[in-house]
């Protein structure tokens, strides 16, 4: 069976990014504004999913772009601007999470999560053939937002980086300062957790 498809990055998109970065580095603020417009929607999704909180997500988005602007000189033009921006946005989002560390129902990103707890599926039912077509995009987003909020932060963050941003396991480990086996373990738990939560929406014959 084939793994889910991953769309390759569009080379024209990357090339335009680099052109804009180059001009922004020379002081053209309009070019930087264009970079904001091109990426803000995806970066906002990332900050929203990691923080699980609208206010923090908005602040993290703003701070990520501001930091990107102030550190633009450090960007190596041989790399991908979007990936560099993702790294900054992840760090800003994690800082927001750390500030909220004392709030209930959070799990430390450093806490070992390698036990078998939560691995055993409870909901086992055949899903619809094309589950995503059952809901409109807006409805689906609301369902995902809701279910992601109930997921421990340590799982959620790995899921965002690996499955949404499709960042490699190794790079995810570097970003979160955890080991590669820990990334794999958390990704497995995150996927199973989300599967369990989505089951009631997509199990064949159920109307949620």
């Amino acid at each position: 069976m084939a793994a889910p498809d991953i769309a390759p990055p569009n080379p024209l998109f990357k090339s335009l990014d680099l052109d804009l970065v180059h001009r922004a580095k020379e002081g053209d603020v309009a070019s930087f504004s264009e970079l904001v417009s091109r990426h803000e929607r995806k970066i906002f999704r990332l900050t929203q999913h990691i923080t699980g909180n609208r206010e923090d997500a908005e602040d993290a988005l703003q701070e990520a772009f501001l930091k990107a602007y102030t550190k633009l000189d450090q960007f190596q033009e041989g790399s991908q601007f979007y990936t560099w921006l993702v790294r900054i946005a992840v760090n800003e989002s994690l800082m927001k999470l750390r500030k909220r560390r004392n709030t209930p129902f959070t799990i430390s990103l450093d806490e070992p999560l390698e036990s078998d707890d939560g691995l055993i599926p409870r909901e086992i039912g055949q899903w619809e053939d094309n589950p995503e077509s059952k809901f409109a995009q807006q409805e689906l987003r609301e369902i995902l937002d809701q279910q992601l909020k109930s997921m421990p932060e340590a799982f959620r963050t790995v899921l965002v980086l690996r499955d949404l941003e499709q960042i490699s396991t190794e790079e995810t480990a570097r970003l979160l300062e955890i080991s590669v086996p820990a990334v794999k373990s958390r990704l497995l738990r995150a996927r199973l957790h989300l599967r369990e939560k989505l089951n009631k929406y997509f199990e064949r014959g159920k109307s949620a």
Binding site: F32, V36, Q48, E58, L66, Y69, L119, P131, L140, L164
Partner: protein, 82 residues
Amino acid sequence: MSTCKKLLTELSSYLDNELDSDLRVEIETHMRRCPDCHIIIDSTRKTVQIYRGCDAYEVPTSLHERIEQAVKMHIEKSTGKC
């Protein structure tokens, strides 16, 4: 370790095509005989597809303007303009 438990442990690596061929064959052989494991793999694959297909978020105009304002203020501050 039972094959069901092994399948669960290797589920992510299986979906990401990261398993060596022997283990992959072992899991696929088991999956054909075990309906529950077949359902778990199928629904987890669909979970990943649904999540990957999640749309980017609309950024409110006020937030977009806030970002531009923050950059503008940074420039004014760093160039000494009021």
